[in-house]
């Protein structure tokens, strides 16, 4: 039995795994709340509405005296974090949180926390994964998680929409959400009346009452009647719905219209990738530098059951997410800078896992990527090969030669110090870690796609 490190905060229970199966222990202290969740109809309602992850009770022997019961939640394909989500992923996660909170109230319960980390995506649908997040509603009591909701959702959404879409990355620094005073400073009065209320005035209130909270029992004097409590939830829902991205243009958003591929080359590339996947049985695939997921979809159509589509560009990930939502694909689009991927974060660096700690895919797809890593990021082929071999046993990679116009664009503004950037040097470096299974030239281009398999001695 391996206890999940990140679930140490909540005294209601914890996550653990046995033989790669994930379970959740419900503690005796949470018995009343858990029973009410299950017996009142709330659980069934939330599961039917696809807002909460479903689970089944499991008869598992443990000698923990705190144990009330053990449940097995539905499998999560890949744990992702808010700093890896696009704008709409975070917005949909915020709306899911508020909808659950509102629905729980009808059954005499509330959401006792509003952590963005409690939401995960299932084929484009955000669901709450923490079954122990519910508590009883006591008339008059304010929403205990209001501050957390503002830090985890409102602040990043408003900053992304009004200042810069890249500010979602502040969530990577501040693990319990963006501090309200910082959001207020960065927003500089932007964001309309909603930002004025939930960010600017909120920041002033936090600063004004920072000492008063230390007087024991003072919070008990705060009384909010049910009508106003519900009105606040409704107002938060409409606030989140009104936050939209306006006129954001990024380098990559029109990628497939701005590439140097001819129709023949693009079709040839699609055919090669399809055939490589048909010849193999890859279940979980990571598509690195996936842009809007065009090739992730081809991979999925040719046998993969799950594709994680990583890209550096927030709008490309946004586009991909909108497509996943529309077609309910088992693709998870995520924002990731491959030159600085998500590290282990939080307490002891173990609360949030680094990208390679979370999953080992059966295959990695790296199309039109190598020149960005080798030239834009100055990474030697040897280092790239070593890292990719660490991530997966199979690699489908495209080599883009220096003569290619896309590489020439990268070299236009800098000295060409990349004398080793040749096809033979690429093959030499990757041969150290991988066996070359097959390679095919893309028609009407100088590019080559390889299927490489990790050498036994590196496994």
């Amino acid at each position: 039995m391996k206890k999940e490190y990140s679930s140490f905060r909540d005294p209601s229970g914890f996550i653990f795994s046995v033989d790669n199966y994930v379970f959740r222990q419900v503690n005796n202290s949470y018995k009343a709340q858990y029973d009410h969740l299950m017996n009142s109809g709330l659980y069934q309602n939330l599961v039917t509405e696809q807002l909460l992850v479903d689970h089944k009770p499991i008869d598992l022997e443990t000698n923990d005296p705190n144990k009330y019961m053990v449940i097995q939640p539905a499998k999560i394909n890949f744990i992702s974090y808010p700093y890896e989500w696009s704008f709409s992923q975070l917005k949909d996660a915020a709306l899911t949180t508020l909808k659950i909170h509102k629905c729980a109230l009808k059954y005499g319960m509330i959401l006792k926390d509003a952590s963005a980390y409690n939401i995960q995506f299932f084929n484009g649908v955000p669901k709450l994964i923490d079954t122990l997040s519910f508590d009883f509603y006591h008339e008059g009591t304010p929403w205990i998680a209001y501050g957390q909701f503002c830090r985890h959702f409102l602040a990043p959404l408003m900053l992304m929409a009004n200042i810069d879409i890249r500010l979602s990355q502040l969530m990577r620094i501040y693990i319990d959400g963006i501090p309200i005073d910082l959001a207020s400073k960065l927003l500089k009065g932007k964001g309309g009346f909603s930002a004025k209320q939930h960010i600017h005035w909120h920041a002033r209130a936090i600063s004004k009452y920072s000492q008063d909270g230390k007087v024991l029992g003072k919070t008990r004097n705060v009384h909010i009647n049910k009508f106003n409590y519900v009105a606040l939830i409704d107002s938060l829902i409409s606030t989140v719905q009104r936050i939209t991205l306006k006129g954001v243009v990024t380098e990559w958003m029109d990628y497939y219209n701005n590439t140097n591929y001819s129709d023949t080359a693009l079709k040839s590339k699609e055919k090669i990738v399809s055939s490589f996947f048909k010849l193999n049985d890859f279940n979980i695939v990571w598509d690195l530098g996936a842009n809007d997921g065009r090739f992730s979809r081809i991979v999925l159509e040719n046998g993969a059951s799950l594709v994680i589509s990583f890209d550096l560009d927030a709008i490309a990930v946004e586009k991909n997410y909108q497509l996943v939502k529309k077609y309910k694909n088992s693709i998870l689009p995520l924002l990731l800078d491959l030159t600085n991927p998500s590290p282990g974060l939080g307490f002891a660096n173990r609360e949030r896992l680094s990208i390679e700690e979370r999953q080992k895919p059966d295959c990695i797809v790296a199309l039109a990527l190598i020149h960005h890593l080798a030239i834009s990021n100055n990474a030697p082929f040897e280092k790239i090969a070593e890292w990719l071999a660490l991530l997966s046993d199979n690699l489908i990679i495209e080599f883009v030669p220096k003569e290619d116009s896309q590489v020439q664009v990268l070299l236009a503004t800098r000295d060409d110090i990349f004398l080793n950037y040749t096809k033979s040097e690429f093959e030499k470096a990757f041969q150290h870690y991988f066996d070359f299974i097959r390679s095919e030239n893309i028609l009407n281009s100088e590019r080559v796609i390889y299927h490489l398999r990790k050498k036994r001695e590196h496994e």
Binding site: K112, Q197, H202, A205, V222, S235
Partner: protein, 53 residues
């Protein structure tokens, strides 16, 4: 309760909940007034229809 709600956030919630509550109250009153007006109009129309018959 394992989450620190923050005293400032709790106190401040009173104000935002009050603003939201006022908004909801007026929205509700407006809705009632409109439905009352529509009902009255409908009754008037029905009356005039009856007169025609």
């Amino acid at each position: 309760m394992y989450l620190d709600p923050g005293f400032g956030s709790m106190i401040f919630q009173l104000i935002v909940a009050l603003i939201a509550g006022l908004g909801a109250y007026f929205a509700l009153a407006k809705k009632k007034a409109i439905s009352l007006f529509n009902k009255k109009n409908k009754t008037n129309m029905e009356d005039s229809n009856e007169e025609r018959i």
